[in-house]
Subunit: 229 residues, 2 copies
Amino acid sequence: MALPPTTAAELAARCDHTLLAPEATEERIAALVAEGIDLAVASVCVTARMVPVAIAYAGSRVPVCSVVGFPSGAHVSDVKAAETAEAVDGGAAEIDVVADLGAVAAGEWDAVTRDIEAVRAACGGRVLKVIVEAGLWDPERLATVCLAAVDAGADFVKTSTGFHAGAGGATVDAVRTMAAAVHGRALVKASGGIRTTDDALAMLAAGADRIGCSATRAIVDGFAATGGR
Amino acid sequence: MALPPTTAAELAARCDHTLLAPEATEERIAALVAEGIDLAVASVCVTARMVPVAIAYAGSRVPVCSVVGFPSGAHVSDVKAAETAEAVDGGAAEIDVVADLGAVAAGEWDAVTRDIEAVRAACGGRVLKVIVEAGLWDPERLATVCLAAVDAGADFVKTSTGFHAGAGGATVDAVRTMAAAVHGRALVKASGGIRTTDDALAMLAAGADRIGCSATRAIVDGFAATGGR
């Protein structure tokens, strides 16, 4: 767990500036990338379909993060691996993959791990974040799926897709549980419903190292307006 | 557009009995398949991840339908094609793929068509349904995306994933618009939020040939209870 940000730039550097609406146009992705470069965010996070577009606009000025198996996670491992390979070949620096939630629900931990390992193998040394859809699970199952992700090579465990109606978004409690479970063996990304500076700071204080958000400029500007307190 | 069903069995034969919750376990898929066989539905519709499970339980007793690029559609065409090929190799008889909604929003009709053509090529002679997320579009754009799907080889145009918070589910108006647009060159599948016998009959009366639903037994039993009127 990193120190809390003391400047707006430090907060921006913790944000994955995100646009995952499936009906987003190339024009909106271009605007996202431009804003991400301007704010100097950790990455711009887009759908696999939009990776080539994001890379074309980003060049090397901001890392591009692609979601994989998103948002259901209910694809076969080979397909998740192929999608990862295509994103990485296209220039994605980070991969956010949704875990096999059916296997999590059934407690089939070997299946959960193997699925993530296939994506880890396909993404090489890129940053791998595993989305566990935290809102679906009790704390014990949430901790277990986080450990399975770490065993499979995850660099981050990530709370939520933001697209599962029953699971909701990130919560302070979920971030705390996840950070305690991985205990420094991986980092935590909080995402889903984080819209304000206070939301973002609460997630960081709870143990998140990275925030996924769309209202990144408002979050960063809000922090700057308080003098970086 | 087919004649309205006159018996419960005819209604069941128009239903894709569906379970797409990403956290559904193999046990729940097995129960879905058993119910689908019992009701003699058109197909059981599952996630790509669950195709091998559904086939293992179904054998040749009920067709298995796999969703592809689901529910966002925001995957590259090669990945949608690979997912289709894997589902077909595994025994899926029908493929429901989500269109490239970003391209639809931008009016990039060539991109929309090429994306579907890649899936058509991968699924050979299997039944191909293209999900257009009808609730996102005005009637003119909805008609245009349906025609693009037909030009690319779709057997059905399908209203909704049921997983897009902003788009909602099937409506009578959307089904009418889609049926008028394809004008017999393809069939229409209504899905998303169809929970009662009245819902199902309204969609069929509006021009749907197929219904996607989870409460299939209640829908069919409700029809039987009215004497098949």
